[in-house]
Subunit: 328 residues, 2 copies
């Protein structure tokens, strides 16, 4: 059951000591949303802890408030009365912070994923929003609070990252108008975009070259896939963090409908990313392997032998793009 | 001297047989602007020829009207009364169509470049517009004409390509609001983005790998540069057209302020592209070599030996990024 933004705002206004948290493997939308709402609540005089189950990626450390994120997961030091969960489709996405659901706090859940579940006391789930940051932009308005430059930087980042720079079909005219309003606070959107997308370590560039070199296609070029093994990363003195975003390049090949990047995390453990050009719902594809995400970007974690995993995930993707496949 | 949009609209309304033309080496903004205004004028019952001094790039052939562009340059078959020049900072950018300036036509010049010149009878030059397509969007409104899906597709393409998907600092809140309004006609912005950016021939991907592999940096990593020789293209069965856009990848390296890509067109003839992350004005840099463009994207053509050209352009770029350089 969905509450109204007015009910959500009232519940937040009643809070005093607030824990805010996003999802595991944090991205621009969950971190930007947590930071934006956290800064607004601090401005209202509330005690706030902004949290993340996992460390923040390097390219998001510029976010206002990023230096104060609590990632410990084991007692954030405050006697909270309210727990605000942002951008988590299911409570498992809270990682180590899931335990706060059992602590008699008022739980408020705000999300935009298509598979969101209403696990909280107050839920606002809007799959029509391109980003949780879009909802938070509206919520701050309903709360009667002001969006200053710092808050706008967080919200713009949330929206621009989850829409692929306004390129994905989740981008609505309303998304663009909200971004326009955020720009009018005086933020430099172009500087944010440079920090997000144009400050890549040399290792990213080197690994990209190798990933493109190893790229293969199936299903008459409709599925493109590549593999990153630990040995390859070692040869560039690179880590798994230097492979973020590389999968998007596989999708830019003409004719490709689904791109897959298989990355070795630990021996025998692989992170599989799926990207769609729009025709195939890769959220459904990842779900078959216990993963999740969005229609155009999803992922899962699989254990086993690389050859078998590759055959399995590429095989399922081929079915999705084939006219007589199992998709539908 | 600038005319008002109302005066421009009146001059266009008075026309009957119209030649519209953009600049040499056409891009999304000039082609989208020509096609959008051309389609609107046709809808008003005027005789229209949409023209381009050079062939249309493959990724822009989806534009409504693209199949009817006249690229001959030698008598477009109509006894024109009006010549509308779009997105050309100076008349030389008209290439072979410059001769129409001498034919007693009413000439209307609409542009957004910072170095625009008022070479026409009617001029509307607005360096504050992110794209000529932004101006055309306003102009169609002032003319009282309707923007249908086809016209909106052209205008959205013009704006999204000249703003780097709304990432460059030329993007204003008004730019985003115009894009929102264009989306409301029912176009699929995400589909346009796929056609623009995610339908790259395999050769592009292969050449990208090689360009990244050859990348070098100077000035403590502030200048990144790479070279594409004909022999390298031949080894991938690729042409110069498969190198479009690759320069942007050089700019994404951390610490880089200026990226340079030197491409061999013919023996001894090189096209040099410059990209800036925002601090350095590469339009000024290209101007020194007889080229032009924008603050963040510019280019020039040079003849000579590759080694000497590389040393020269990299040397000038190094001066620009160095604290005590000649820039300013």
């Amino acid at each position: 059951m969905n509450n109204s933004l007015k009910e959500i705002a009232a519940a937040i206004n009643n809070s005093s000591r607030v824990l805010l948290c996003g999802h595991v493997v944090p991205d621009g939308d969950c971190l930007g949303s947590v930071a934006a709402l956290g800064l607004v609540l601090e401005g209202m005089g509330k005690k706030v802890v902004m949290a993340s189950p996992d460390q923040l990626p390097e390219n998001l450390l510029f976010l206002p408030g990023a230096d104060r994120f609590y990632t410990g997961g084991n007692g954030a030091g405050l006697d909270f009365d309210t727990f605000i969960v942002l951008d988590c489709s299911v409570s498992d996405r809270l990682g180590t912070f899931k335990k706060y659901l059992d602590r008699q706090l008022v739980v408020i859940n705000i999300d935009h994923h298509i598979n969101s579940s209403d696990f909280a006391h107050y839920n606002y789930l809007d799959p029509g929003a391109a980003a949780t940051g879009e909802i938070i932009t509206d919520l701050i308005g309903v709360m009667g609070a002001r969006i200053d430059r710092e808050v706008a930087t967080c919200l713009y980042t949330a929206i621009v990252t989850d829409t692929g720079s306004f390129q994905y079909e989740n981008t609505s005219p309303e998304t663009l108008r909200k971004a326009a309003m955020l720009m009018e606070t005086g933020i430099s959107a172009s500087r944010i975009n440079v920090l997000l997308y144009e400050e890549k370590p040399l290792q990213n560039i080197k690994v990209l070259g190798a990933v493109l070199d190893r790229m293969r296609t199936s299903a008459c070029g409709k599925v493109a896939w590549s593999v990153v093994e630990k040995a390859m990363l070692d040869s560039f003195s690179a880590g798994v963090e230097h492979t973020d975003g590389l999968i998007n390049f596989l999708r830019t090949l003409k004719g490709v409908e689904v791109a897959i990047l298989i990355r070795e995390m630990d021996a025998g453990k692989f992170k599989v990313g799926f990207r769609s050009k729009g025709e195939v719902d890769v959220h459904r594809l990842a779900s078959r392997f216990g993963g999740g995400g969005h229609m155009r970007a999803s992922g899962c974690v699989l254990s086993g032998k690389l050859d078998q995993i590759t055959e399995m995930v590429v095989g399922e993707a081929v079915k999705e793009v084939s006219p007589n496949g199992s998709g539908g």
